[in-house]
Point group: C2
C-alpha cells in the first residue's frame, strides 16, 4: 500500500526532568513517518529550511521514507522549544519560531497522488482540506488538530472533518472541540461532524478508538522512565496508520490491532529524546511489546 | 467464603454538575459492602450514631449484609459534605463532621473472626493493624489509605502494609506514599513495603493490578454520564474482593477477572448518588458489563 503524511519537520529543544536536548529532529511529520516506516513505505510532504543538512535528511532516507515531497525553502527550519515539569503529560512552550513553516503550502508530488492511506498532521485546516481534495483515491484519511485551530479556525476545521475518515486527537482537544467533558459523548459529537472513527489519545492512560458500534481501549505500555513525551501522539498515529497501510485491512479486528501498534510505537518514542529510540528498533522488539500489551489486558470471560 | 469489611458508614451531602443529594447513605464500608453483596455474604464492622434509622439499616439487611459488627454509639453518625466541579475526578470537601467515627474502635464479633477475605477501609492505620492481627485465618487482606494518613501516620501505615496482602489506592495516593511519579515504580516501591499486590485506581482511566511477574490493566466502563463519583474506589474494592471471596480462587487469571468486576461495580456506583444504583442491580446486568469490558479491550494477536 502507500501511506502519505503531510505535517511539520522541526528542530526541537526540550528540557524534561531527565535531561535536555538541543535542536533535535522533530515535528509531526517526522515522528509519524519514522514510526510508520517500520510498517510500510511512507511518502513525506513537509517543508524545511536551508539549515536542514544531509545528516537530517539521512534520518528519512535510511528509513526508506520518500522525501520527494520535502520542500526546501529559503530561510530557517521551524524551531520549537519546550519543557516538561512534574506532570509530563503536557509541555510548556518556551519559544516557537515558525520560520519556513509559516508559509507552508503543501505540494503533493504527482507520484504521491495515488496514496491510499493519509495522515494530515496538525497544520492549518484550510491546508488539510486542500490536500484532502487532491487525494481522490484515498481509502482512509486521518487528521490531527490542536487547540490553536480549534479556537481560531473552528469553521475551517469542521469543513476538513466533514471529508476525513478519522480524527486523531488528545482528550483535551476532543473536549475543547465539542464542549463535552465526557469522552464518549465528545467522540459521538465529533463523529456527527464527519469522521466515522475517532481516536482519543490520553497520554499515559492510553487511547480509545470510537467507531461504528464499537469502542476499543488500549493502555499505554507501562514504562519505568518516560524521558521525553514530545511527538508521542504523532508516533501513535504512525503506528496506527502504518499497520493499516501495511495490511490494507480495515476490519474491526485489524483496527484494534492497529491501535495497539500505535501504543507500542508511542512507548518507544518517549523513552528517549527525539526519534533516536525509533531509529534503533527492530521488528522483533515491536512484536514483543505488542504481545506484552496483549498480556497486560487479557482476561478470560 | 466469608468477606469482612471494616470502615466508615456516613451520611453524605454531595453536589455535582448533575444535581445534589442531602444526607444519603455513604462511607467506605457502605459502598464496599453493598457492591460485594452481589458476590458473597459480607460481614460489616462500622459505627453509626443515634440518627441511624431502620430505613438505613434496611439497606444492609436487604442485601443480606451481616450487621452484627455495626456498633451503635451515642451521638451522630459521621457526616461528609463535598462537591465535584469540572474535573469530576476529585471531590472538594466542604465539611466533615466525624461524630461517632472520631472514637471508632472496631470490635470484631467472634463469629466474624474466621473471615477469609478482608477489606480494611480507609481508617487510622493503627486500627487497621489492630484488626488485621485478630484475623489470623485470613487468606487475603487488602487495605486502603488516603493522603491524611500517608502524611500524618506514615510509620504506622508502613506497619500495616507490612502485614497485608494487597493495597488498593488511587494514583495520587500511590505517588504520595512513595514519592514516585511513575506508577510502575510506585507500585514496585509499595510492594517492597509488604503487599504482594497493589491495585492502583485511576478514576475514569481505570485501574491496574501489579502482582508477582504480572501487570494487568482494566479500563473504566465508558459511561455517558457520571453523576456522582463518591464511593467509586470502595465500590471497586467491593467488586474485586467480592469476586475473589465468591470463587476462593487467587490464581492470576481470577485476580484479573476480579479487577474487571471491580471496574464493573464502580461503573454502576457512579451513575447515581449514593448506593441507589447498586441496590437496583441484577446479576445479569453485572455479567453484561463484564462482557462489554471484554469487548472493549479484546484484540487478537
Amino acid at each position: 500500500m502507500s501511506l502519505l503524511v503531510v505535517g511539520s519537520v522541526a528542530f526541537d529543544s526540550i528540557e524534561t526532568p531527565y535531561g535536555r536536548a538541543e535542536g533535535v529532529l522533530g515535528g509531526s511529520a517526522t515522528f509519524f513517518s519514522v514510526a510508520a516506516s517500520w510498517f510500510d513505505r511512507v511518502n513525506l510532504v513537509a517543508v524545511v529550511g536551508e539549515d536542514f543538512g544531509k545528516e537530517h535528511l539521512d534520518v528519512f532516507t535510511r528509513r526508506s521514507i520518500d522525501t520527494a515531497g520535502l520542500e526546501r525553502a529559503s530561510g530557517k527550519t521551524f524551531r520549537w522549544q519546550g519543557e516538561y515539569a512534574g506532570d509530563m503529560n503536557e509541555a510548556r512552550t518556551l519559544d516557537t519560531q515558525l520560520n519556513v513553516f509559516q508559509h507552508f503550502a503543501p505540494k503533493i508530488p504527482e507520484k504521491f497522488l495515488g496514496s491510499e492511506y493519509v495522515f494530515l498532521g496538525n497544520i492549518d485546516p484550510v491546508l488539510q482540506l486542500h490536500v484532502r481534495r487532491q487525494l481522490t483515491g484515498a481509502r482512509l484519511v486521518a487528521c490531527d488538530s490542536m487547540n490553536f485551530w480549534i479556537k481560531g479556525k473552528a469553521e475551517d476545521l469542521k469543513k476538513t472533518l466533514a471529508v476525513v475518515d478519522a480524527l486523531v486527537v488528545n482528550d483535551g482537544e476532543a473536549r475543547m472541540l465539542t464542549g463535552e467533558r465526557n469522552l464518549k459523548r465528545a467522540a459521538d459529537s465529533i463523529r456527527r461532524l464527519g469522521p466515522r472513527m475517532v481516536v482519543i489519545k490520553r497520554g499515559e492512560h492510553g487511547a480509545t478508538l470510537f467507531a461504528d458500534n464499537s469502542t476499543f481501549t488500549v493502555p499505554a505500555y507501562p514504562l519505568e522512565v518516560v524521558r521525553d513525551p514530545t511527538g508521542a501522539g504523532d508516533t501513535f498515529a504512525g503506528g496506527f496508520l502504518g499497520h493499516l497501510a501495511r495490511t490494507g485491512d480495515l476490519s474491526e479486528g485489524n483496527l484494534r490491532r492497529a491501535l495497539v501498534y500505535g501504543s507500542v510505537m508511542a512507548s518507544f518514542a518517549v523513552e528517549e529524546f527525539g526519534v533516536d529510540r525509533m531509529l534503533r528498533l527492530g521488528a522483533a522488539e515491536i512484536e514483543e511489546r505488542f504481545r506484552e500489551i496483549k498480556e497486560l489486558t487479557h482476561f478470560d470471560v
